[in-house]
Symmetry: C2
Subunit: 406 residues, 2 copies
Amino acid sequence: MSLAEAQRLDAADPLRARRAHFRLPEGITYLDGNSLGALPDGAPAHISGVVEREWGEGLVRSWNDAGWIDMPRRVGTKIAPLIGAEAGEVIACDSVSVNLFKLIWAALCMRPERKTVLSEPGNFPTDIYMLNGLAGRGLAVPRLAAADMLEQALDSDVALLLLPHVHYQTGAMHDLARLTRAAHDAGALVLWDLSHSAGAVPVDLASCEADFAVGCGYKYLNGGPGAPGFAYVAQRHLKALEQPLTGWMGHSDPFSFRDDYEAAPGIEKLLAGTPSILALAALEHGAELIADIGVAALVAKSRALSEFTRQAAARIIPELPCISPADPAARGSQLSWRHDSAFALSQALIARGVIGDFRTPDVLRFGFAPAYNSFADCWHALEQLRAVLDSGEWQREEFNRRGRVT
Amino acid sequence: MSLAEAQRLDAADPLRARRAHFRLPEGITYLDGNSLGALPDGAPAHISGVVEREWGEGLVRSWNDAGWIDMPRRVGTKIAPLIGAEAGEVIACDSVSVNLFKLIWAALCMRPERKTVLSEPGNFPTDIYMLNGLAGRGLAVPRLAAADMLEQALDSDVALLLLPHVHYQTGAMHDLARLTRAAHDAGALVLWDLSHSAGAVPVDLASCEADFAVGCGYKYLNGGPGAPGFAYVAQRHLKALEQPLTGWMGHSDPFSFRDDYEAAPGIEKLLAGTPSILALAALEHGAELIADIGVAALVAKSRALSEFTRQAAARIIPELPCISPADPAARGSQLSWRHDSAFALSQALIARGVIGDFRTPDVLRFGFAPAYNSFADCWHALEQLRAVLDSGEWQREEFNRRGRVT
């Protein structure tokens, strides 16, 4: 393995031309697209058009004339093929956290004789945080079980199995089909958090008969910082679904301004308040770029990048234990290693122009964005990490100072 | 009264130079800033900077380096003086509807022996829609009473009085101080929806001892279509406050990624998921422009515009009944008239370059944005309305076709 081999793989990469669709700053190797996706090259002009033409010139008329009112469904429809969903089953709105709340509530309403929501400890915590308020009012009973104990924990009290599909630290990926089936066998519903999945790993909600899902717009979908999330409801549940954030945009006829709430018949019933059009415009542009590549090509590239990096890391940084699954089919689009000073390593790497991510307390994480990362990126990042380790430069005080976001 | 008088008033207007801070399209008279505020002239460059420099070049580092993580509080602090609040009592995030849900829930937790939420029928309905889910699970009992019956309806069952400050149709403005006192006398809390107030009418939450408030970023604050809303919690309630949308950004230490939720001690506890930075950036720019003018000048200009228009309308369109209060101190920054074909009138006006608003079933509404509207705007709009009425052009089929947003 060598830089030359990485370059050979890049030359043969069917997605190699896609990299030019993103602005990657000069001198930066970016392996953190699973925290914040890179800026699409066309996004600034697209957003400017929405700001200057649609807002500035169209003003309030753009709700009709520029189709703003249809954006949440339209963007959702563009995301749908990336997760094995149909048009009308996905909507882009609010944040992942807020969408989790809606769908946890909805699931509890559909299983009125059950209150337990089963999840996994140590995974991305917003999922279980969203149970906090419901638990305080006696509406939900959280239950946590380690990944390998989840199936045993699925008893007749469980209304909902709520899981992030890909673990944000280790990259371990749940078997979505098997766990969905197990939950259904126990009479429970399933809500998948696809934040680290959509746009990078295979997800087929329809064939797995998943009930609900949410996901993130600012990671592999490149929708910009804090982009709206998305929410999925299987067609068969749409009619009966009740969610609690019954704002005017989720009404069947919002501009009738009636006092009584009547939910929209379709996926729009998940809307609450007025969605940010600027945020949706950026997400629409990013999601289109990714959907245009298609799941099969994204998954193939993701697996090739992570497998190349895993094997190269075993030679270049053998002293760092890799905590991600060795089987590419069992992990997301990322690799993580443990080191007591992972924070300082990640800061020292940034100083060398390599942006990965630190996750407390001791995880160094590289994410692989199949649309724009190259094999040479991965090789270069590992070589720089070797140099950081060899030089001991990570021990400098400047690399050990925490920011607010660390 | 005449165009010349309007022009004299404009020449003497201390805010006349502010109009140039907004992009108002050539040939358009815009009296709908209370639906969607106009584009600030500096907003496109500001948003581009956030997109190209902060997102494109800074990438994930901008959460620290560009201060993204502090934006919800920072923007809230800029809005605070417009509503008589202190720094640390206001935060910009999510939508008005979602913020209503958080604070209705919080109020119910603070009055555990009461369940009734009192509001007004016929006002902007998202406020009472947000009670729908809570009522369905038995957590809240909605009660509606007409504006002049609210004080009588405040009995010992009422946990919360929930009211829009300014009526979206008539512009009638509640006496915020008196109703807050009445609610407190009955042992209830108060949540004010300032969507049609902030940036245009006097609001002094502190001196009125209001408990909670929410408001809109895309009307008089010019934050762009679907801009984030804001939420206010009186300092004295912050410590005990519990809200249900306990996402990771509201955690006391979000980047500790702990399984147990511990709310942030301050106003950040109202955050749920990751906020849209693009949406917040646009709102920050718009709110700064308005806050820089200051409440006193905004209120004086708003009242002068609406009073000039009310008196001119009585002469120019005398056959249209004005449904807004005649006392400038009793109304918001708007005037409304009834006409059976208000929708067609508003469409015919748009064809003549005058954008006001139609509100179902029969209301034609002009909103006055004190930062950029002129007396000549108001005069011109009334003259055009006269011409539309005289010509009968509003009866054309093209002006009677409804869009999705009407």
